[in-house]
């Protein structure tokens, strides 16, 4: 939101539109790609979260087990080699997709504000 040209906000108010209208018609649409990009990066960051998840939600199979918790569980099993490899691959793919999506959205925002 800080990257939005403040003149656009002033122009909107000069055209007789109040703060709230200006926020919903100008500020929010122009910052939407940035907000989505933040959400995607937040999701990607959550893929690596271990401590908070295990403390708050626990490690209940098929209910609260996330990828990092499942990795930890399989890693401590003798037969867990295969699932660990698959989960690592899924984590890498998800992280890469999140990075691409975030970069795409940020570029879109820069383009939209030009």
């Amino acid at each position: 939101m800080e990257s939005i040209n403040p003149d656009l906000v002033n122009i909107s108010r000069g055209l007789g539109r109040g703060r709230l209208y200006t926020f919903f018609r100008i500020v929010l649409p122009l910052s939407l790609p940035g907000i989505l990009s933040g959400a995607v990066l937040g999701f990607a960051r959550s893929l690596g979260e271990f401590g908070a998840t295990v403390m708050v939600a626990g490690n209940i199979p098929f209910k609260t087990t996330t990828i990092p918790l499942a990795l930890y569980s399989f890693f401590n099993r003798i037969d867990g080699g295969e699932p660990v490899k698959r989960l690592v691959a899924v984590s890498l793919i998800l992280s890469f997709l999140a990075l691409v999506a975030s970069e795409y959205l940020l570029r879109k925002q820069k383009h939209a504000q030009r």
Partner: protein, 217 residues
């Protein structure tokens, strides 16, 4: 009639300006960095002075003695900047209609015809030239039904040919809609072409007011 008597100390710069502008085209003339844009921003309500008053007709925009400070959206003033500042996510048509008031004296067709922008309505502002952007900008301000148009160096970022075209459009807008205009410029030629009254500003103070523009030697 616009009456301005404002004082504000910015620390490194003091703005102390008094002038009146009538129903014609008035100009604030002076070099960059002498407070011209600050005066416009103050009239539009984006900067609050410390002392004085700003009135337009029977409206009091700001008055330190009466503790009145009208919000920018209530002042009914069209503001046109040097860089056209069209909303980049809206089409030209949506930009034009953004501030449209029901009681507006002119229709979209009137404004579009006058400014010759009918063929641009469905385009994205990014695909317009500098001159086209500025015409849309003027149209958008007109459709918000302003009582006064403020223009901050409206042609300084344009090439010479577009510059004179836009100045002619500004004259046409004033003549057709009887719209009072206060514009700011550092160019004596532009002022001579447009203004009925010119106030020269230096170091935040009005140093000269002329009813007729200064003739170039």
């Amino acid at each position: 009639m616009l009456n301005v008597d404002i004082y504000k100390n910015f620390g490194h710069f003091v703005l102390d300006v008094q002038f009146s502008a009538g129903a014609g085209i008035s100009a604030l003339l002076g070099p960059s960095g002498n407070g011209k844009s600050l005066v416009l921003n103050t009239i539009a309500g984006f900067i609050k002075p410390e002392e004085g008053y700003i009135t337009f007709g029977d409206k009091v925009f700001w008055d330190s003695a009466q503790n009145i400070n009208m919000r920018p959206e209530e002042r009914n003033v069209g503001y046109i900047l040097q860089d056209s500042c069209l909303f980049p996510h809206l089409s030209v048509r949506s930009n034009l209609l953004y501030g449209r008031k029901k009681e507006c004296r002119y229709s979209l067709v009137d404004v579009v015809d006058l400014l010759e922008i009918g063929h641009l309505l469905d385009r994205n502002p990014r695909r317009l030239s500098g001159g086209e952007k500025q015409r849309v900008n003027i149209g958008r301000a007109l459709l918000s039904n302003p009582g006064l148009l403020l223009m901050d160096e409206p042609v300084s970022s344009l090439e010479e040919e577009s510059c004179w075209k836009i100045l002619s459009f500004i004259k046409k807008v004033h003549k057709t809609f009887a719209m009072p205009i206060l514009f700011v410029s550092h160019s004596r030629e532009e002022v001579e072409f447009l203004a009925d009254q010119t106030a020269s500003i230096e170091q935040g103070r009005i140093v000269d007011i002329r009813k007729k523009p200064v003739r170039l030697k």
